[in-house]
């Protein structure tokens, strides 16, 4: 998963969380208000109930007092007086209770005061009547009117309590009505809450699934990271390189374990910092490395820096460093560097360079030798030949028969010497493989070779039959030399009594179809065969004849130097081709050359 997706999921998770918290708080608020309302109405109902209860109690207490008073009038028993007087106390308590319940402000408290007044009136009448009873003047007019008044007061009290009772009920009913509206409103709310909570729950479940999926993913990624870190550790060891990270803003460094090992230290043996690292760097290379690091501050890529370090044990290592700066997701600049141990390569290179120098020296010496061979060796030889020719011209008549024989010996030895020198020069020329390849018509080169040998062809009355040859990318003078040597070879080793017939055949071949080319690198080759009817050779010498100075016949009969075919092999090999020979004694020889078509 890519980082943007992680971010996306993180944002959506945050949104879900905030939304959920908001809705839960909202629901909490609503619920609190709902419960407060319920408590309030509960209290109200309780109060109404209590007020009504106390009113009923008050009425019953007053009725009891009235009865007790009547009993006293009938019996004149003092016990009743005391008892009904006692009721006064409980009536007062009840009134006090009511006062507490009703409070001081509303209309009910006004009603209570009126009631209290009436109760006091009642008890006042009781005592007035008592006075008449004690004097036995019960049939007087005043007594009767008092008695009547008492009954009126009692009625008033009942009425008053009814008023209060009704009032209280009325209050309750209005409250209930209000409550009912509210209830209608909140009846729908719980369902809404429920649904909302359900949705939130769904969200949270979704979020949970997402988080757990992400966690799984992260776990898998961590696993991969762990594996790749381990494998990178291993490859660092095998590949002899180490990594380092430079956190530019914080100016802190991180070195991989193998970087420490490359310095000959244990991992984390010292704090990763340029200061500590530079302690290992060869004094001559410190400046170069420091400059490179400084350049890193403003460039994106650090070119390769080669430097040396000195390990604690004193051995010198060659390192190569490369670094690149990157910006992380957090916008922080980091420089990632790789340092490779190139000690072995460098040492090999030094050895190689030395060898190359040596080779170059050898080549120069060889060139000098060739020069000497072609100039200095030829000069005395030429002089011997010239002196011999002068002697032959002027002094031949003065020499004895034996002298002439010796003289001829000198002559043929000198000719042979010259032949050898010329062939050696040719061979050394064939040794130079760095010649220029050009596209040339092989027919022309063959004709040139034939021209060089025109004299001997004429002399031996040789017949040369040639296929049409192709064009090829070759080193022209070497291929001409090759043709020349092969022709000269066939002419030289011709039968004394038969005029030589030399056939040159050409075909284009695919290496898979040729038994000779089982080890060939290229796909297709020019195949040229030179077939003669000369003295041939035994097949067992077919490889040996290409060796330098190898001769199969004595030099009295055949004038070869044993170099010509070596030159042929050299030239063919220079062209990444192959040469093979096939011989049969007294029948002839076949030389087969393969030159790659696309070298």
């Amino acid at each position: 998963m890519r980082f943007e997706n992680y971010l996306k999921s993180e944002v959506s998770l945050k949104a879900i969380l905030i939304l959920s918290v908001f809705i839960i708080l909202l629901i909490g608020g609503f619920t609190y208000k709902y419960i407060t309302n319920l408590t309030y109405s509960q209290k109200l109902v309780n109060q109404t109930y209590n007020v009504n209860l106390q009113l009923k109690q008050l009425v019953s207490q007053l009725r009891r007092a009235e009865n007790l008073h009547k009993n006293y009038i009938l019996t004149k028993d003092a016990y009743y007086v005391n008892t009904y007087l006692d009721t006064k106390k409980s009536v007062n308590t009840t009134v006090q209770e009511l006062n507490n319940l009703i409070g001081a402000t509303n209309q009910q408290s006004q009603n209570l005061k009126t009631l209290d007044q009436l109760i006091n009136d009642l008890y006042l009448h009781f005592s007035k009547i008592n006075t008449f009873t004690e004097n036995d003047s019960v049939d007087t007019k005043i007594y009767n009117s008092l008695y009547y008044e008492e009954r009126l007061i009692m009625n008033d009290i009942i009425n008053q309590t009814d008023i209060m009772y009704n009032k209280e009920n009325e209050h309750l009913i209005t409250t209930y009505q209000k409550e009912e509206e509210y209830t209608n409103y909140i009846e729908f709310t719980p369902l809404f809450y429920f649904l909302t909570l359900l949705v939130i729950l769904m969200f949270i479940v979704m979020a949970y699934i997402k988080i757990s999926n992400d966690l799984k993913l992260i776990k898998a990624k961590n696993e991969l990271l762990l594996i790749s870190k381990e494998s990178s550790n291993q490859s660092e060891i095998i590949g002899k390189y180490g990594n380092w990270i430079w956190h530019v803003e914080a100016n802190t460094f991180q070195y991989s374990d193998n970087l420490y090992r490359m310095l000959g230290e244990e991992p984390n043996a010292f704090e990763a910092s340029p200061h500590n690292f530079l302690k290992f760097v060869h004094p001559e290379d410190v400046q170069k490395l420091t400059d490179g690091l400084n350049k890193m501050m403003d460039s994106k890529e650090l070119p390769f820096i080669n430097y040396r370090i000195i390990e604690k044990n004193g051995s010198i290592k060659y390192l190569k460093a490369y670094a690149k700066s990157i910006y992380g997701l957090d916008g922080q600049k980091r420089v990632l560097g790789t340092t490779t141990d190139i000690t072995e390569e460098t040492k090999n290179l030094l050895v190689l360079e030395e060898r190359n120098l040596e080779l170059e020296r050898n080549n120069k010496e060889l060139t000098a030798f060739n020069y000497a061979a072609s100039h200095d060796l030829q000069e005395p030889l030429r002089k011997i030949q010239t002196f011999v020719s002068r002697l032959q011209e002027k002094e031949m008549l003065n020499i004895s028969a034996t002298g002439i024989q010796y003289f001829e010996g000198i002559k043929s030895a000198v000719v042979r010497m010259r032949l050898l020198i010329d062939d050696l020069i040719h061979f050394s020329k064939a040794n130079k493989p760095h010649e220029v390849y050009v596209r040339k018509d092989l027919n022309t080169l063959f004709e040139n070779a034939k021209k060089d040998l025109a004299e001997i062809i004429e002399e031996k009355k040789a017949e040369i039959i040639t296929d049409k040859l192709p064009e090829a990318r070759i080193i022209a003078f070497q291929i001409q030399q090759l043709f020349s040597n092969l022709l000269s070879n066939s002419l030289k080793y011709s039968k004394k009594d038969t005029s030589p017939i030399i056939k040159i055949n050409y075909s284009k071949v695919i290496s898979a179809a040729e038994s000779h080319l089982s080890k060939a690198v290229e796909g297709s080759y020019h195949k040229i065969t030179v077939t003669d009817n000369g003295i041939g050779f035994e097949q067992k010498y077919s490889n040996k004849i290409f060796e330098l100075f190898t001769r199969l016949h004595n030099k009295q009969d055949y004038s070869g130097t044993g170099i010509g075919l070596s030159i042929c092999k050299k030239i063919v090999e220079n062209h990444k081709g192959y040469i093979f020979s096939k011989g049969e004694s007294n029948i002839g020889a076949v030389f087969t050359i393969y030159i790659p078509i696309h070298p």
Binding site: Q378, K383, T386, R390
Partner: protein, 148 residues
Amino acid sequence: MYNDYINIILADDDDDDILFFTDAFENLKIKTKVKVFKDGIELMDYLTTEDALMPDILFLDLNMPKKSGLECLIEIKDNPKMSEIVVAIYSTSASEEDIEKTFVLGANIYIKKPADFIKLKKVLSKVVSINWQYHTNNLNKNSFLLRL
């Protein structure tokens, strides 16, 4: 007066070769005057003197002490007074490299010293009888090396 003789200068350090050379001209019975210098310095000293007689043909050996034939050739072709001298390179070897160099530097012919006195005489008689005007106009790398 001078027209009766062909003025020839040979610059060669090898006594035997000088002997063969002068013997050959004596044998040829061509009217020649042969002047010999044994190294490049001697040759150039002579050629740069005020009243020096410019040769008709200069036979120049390449391998000489003190100053090589190649150096002499460069100086001669650089000097307007001498640049018209016909220069025949006269050397033991005929390496491709030497032929190429001397051809480019403006030598007129390249002679590989023959190994046979009779052949030498043939070569020298051919060289002195060349019409240089014609030869130089038709000079190319193939005709540069003298073949008999």
